[in-house]
Symmetry: C2
Subunit: 211 residues, 2 copies
Amino acid sequence: MSQTDTIGRILDAAEVLFAERGFTETSLRTITSTAGVNLAAVNYHFGSKKELIQAVFERFLTPFTASLAGELDRREAAGQRLTVEELLESLYRVGLGSLAAEGRDPQRFMRLLGLAYSQSQGHLRRFIVSRYGDSYHRFAGLLERALPHLDPVSFYWRLYFMLGATVFTLSSFDAIEAILREDFGAQSSLPETLDRLVPAAAAMLKVNAEG
Amino acid sequence: MSQTDTIGRILDAAEVLFAERGFTETSLRTITSTAGVNLAAVNYHFGSKKELIQAVFERFLTPFTASLAGELDRREAAGQRLTVEELLESLYRVGLGSLAAEGRDPQRFMRLLGLAYSQSQGHLRRFIVSRYGDSYHRFAGLLERALPHLDPVSFYWRLYFMLGATVFTLSSFDAIEAILREDFGAQSSLPETLDRLVPAAAAMLKVNAEG
DNA sequence: CAACAATTAAAACAGTTGTTTAGTGCAAGG
DNA sequence: CCTTGCACTAAACAACTGTTTTAATTGTTG
């Protein structure tokens, strides 16, 4: 249809394949052949494989952070200070909603985020921080204000604990869900799992250090 | 000295390089040249790159699980049921101690565990499960008994949340520590961080679902 | 010391990687 | 009608991958 349908096809294929196998384990030839485009199209449209990886992240992080900003605006406008649970709810539901609304798979983005964290070849982490650092800091600041009893260092360690639990769990949601279904015959949906995660993460953030 | 000093040199180099860059990002030539051995030595002594990766994990997981088993034996022999905090303490301190005792870097193994999780090419996950699944299930069983108010499915999700917070945070301990030192001038040691992690993770495990 | 096996070494192997080059087709503008 | 620019393609590039082969060198044992 449009003259640059090729770009979209490449991004679609790369997004899926990167999430399944990782970045270095996915060759440009695999991407271009599943996308049904020529090999050289990646370098033509994106410049390099690195820039393709960044473009994949940009395509889902930009609407995600935009939706999150809107949600935080709305909640802040309501007046009272946001609670930990409200902030986590915002983060999770917006992540789910803004991406699912475009008909894309939220779990795939969680896997990509997990990969970005662990496989990060430097360039990707720098790209994400420079592009979306502000969104991160706004959320972290609001969360810190919701936890006034914590000193800054304690708060940031707790924040990383929470991010670890979130990214780690959701990035392998499919695998964990399959294990639990096999062992207990209990199906878990992603929203249900977020219902479990919100109170657990909130408890971890709020507990007094001296237990 | 010994006739197969080569094996140790290869394992040492592979351990460091894998932890720094990941598996596919580390070539056999990089490993053998930093180890000061011939390229073919890897295939001669280990068979393939996959088996080398498994050997690296075996070398630190075997003493780790053995120490953990001993620690759990000791604590169980003492009689009363183990608490969540005691179990987490055992896990963390033993992991720290058994590896540091051999003069090796505990954080490196956390990074490897994180990689095993996210970069797992299948063979590694199968290897770890078949070799160390029993240790994992014993620990999980004891932890579940320490949390009798949780139904099995809830418990296992919480377990994954806890593992996520642990692996994620400790596997990038150096990076997080550097950020906090820059922003707050506060140095954090690994033991201090575990002191922060134990109560936080325990709170996440213990909280009642309906908050 | 001779003979055998274990280990190390150099070199080549076949395959894959990301990227570049040169050229094709096509549509819009002068 | 010709040209300019854009999207796309096939082919080749050089570099790198894990692995194997063949030969040289050890170390050990009869």
